[in-house]
């Protein structure tokens, strides 16, 4: 595949992520912070997010497995997850966290267990999408091209 085609594919894929609600305007902010002197900024931040998230999901699952669930602790984890997903623009993960916090407030264990599943699902979906996106970027750069600048209005 030649570079122009790869770039067009990248643009279409990125646009679809926004249209399908996986990403929001905050992700564009991160892209704007990337330049020649910080060429890997987005990948670096998102990698940090992945690391953070795996740990948070483990902590959440374990906290909900306790015989007596500490809802304050669960809520604290969800609050953190909501924050980091919001910071990178992972909209659907963020929204799943918002719903989760309501069940924490109600101290509803069953609801919380369902929510962890929901959050996990959204997280793995967006992780997959972003990894695909980054792989496309690597291919473009390897072929000597540059990653297009998106003009999206929000």
């Amino acid at each position: 595949m030649e570079v122009g085609q790869m770039q067009r594919q990248w643009v279409d894929y990125t646009k679809s992520l926004f249209l399908e609600g996986f990403l929001d305007g905050q992700f564009l902010q991160l892209q704007q912070l990337q330049d020649e002197s910080n060429p890997d900024f987005v990948v670096e931040v998102v990698s940090l997010f992945f690391e953070d998230s795996e740990k948070l999901l483990n902590d959440l699952t374990r906290a909900l497995e306790q015989p007596s669930v500490d809802f304050k602790r669960v809520d604290a984890h969800v609050h953190q997850f909501k924050g980091s997903s919001s910071s990178i623009g992972a909209q659907r993960v963020k929204n799943a966290c918002i719903a989760f916090r309501n069940f924490c407030e109600e101290q509803n264990t069953e609801g919380c267990v369902r929510c962890v599943q929901q959050v996990k699902q959204e997280y793995y979906l967006v992780k997959n999408k972003l990894e695909t996106l980054f792989a496309m970027e690597q291919q473009i750069v390897a072929a000597g091209g540059s990653i297009p600048i998106l003009e999206l209005s929000f």
Partner: protein, 172 residues
């Protein structure tokens, strides 16, 4: 001549000119405090993109140590100087951003440094109490480039200068 960060030279110098900064001003040094790894990385980049020097701390205690204000502090070798502004997250384990704000405003040494509090939660009573305690501004997370650009107006006059000259800050 102010050090230029990653942004293209023309845009940062025109931004500097529009903010009334001349080439004699030092690079502003911002202390950013946040317990989230992801958010620390983002705030650091937002600030360096706006031609600031950044030091980060992962909690309030770390920030106090950097400022030389920690209780019983004996080792001052890691303290930072010439901090032009402090940006702190509100929700942090241990000491909150609000408690950090209070400690800063109680200290004769650093109370003149503008403190910006950021939070992911829009709670009017929280905002009020931070502003009453002396926070310069309270911003909602996630922070955007436009937020950080607005904050630079707090850096134009020297800390301690209460003159009304200079830029007008329009809060969110």
């Amino acid at each position: 001549m102010a050090a230029v960060s990653a942004s293209p030279p023309s845009s940062s110098s025109s931004a500097a000119a529009s903010m009334g900064l001349d080439s004699g001003d030092k690079v502003p040094h911002v202390l950013a405090v946040d317990d989230s790894f992801v958010d620390r990385k983002i705030i650091e980049r937002l600030l360096t993109h706006s031609a600031c020097k950044v030091t980060t701390a992962e909690n309030a205690h770390g920030a106090l140590e950097l400022l030389g204000l920690a209780d019983g502090q004996q080792n001052f070798s890691n303290t930072v100087s010439n901090v032009s502004m402090i940006i702190t997250d509100y929700c942090m384990p241990g000491m909150t951003g609000y408690e950090l704000l209070k400690k800063i405003k109680e200290s004769p040494k650093v109370k003149q440094i503008p403190v910006i509090v950021v939070s992911s939660e829009n709670i009017p009573t929280r905002i009020e109490k931070c502003l009453e305690e002396g926070a310069e501004e309270f911003l909602l997370k996630p922070l955007r480039l436009s937020d950080v650009k607005k904050l630079r107006c707090h850096l134009t006059s020297n800390a301690g200068n209460n003159s009304d000259e200079g830029l007008i800050c329009v809060g969110r």
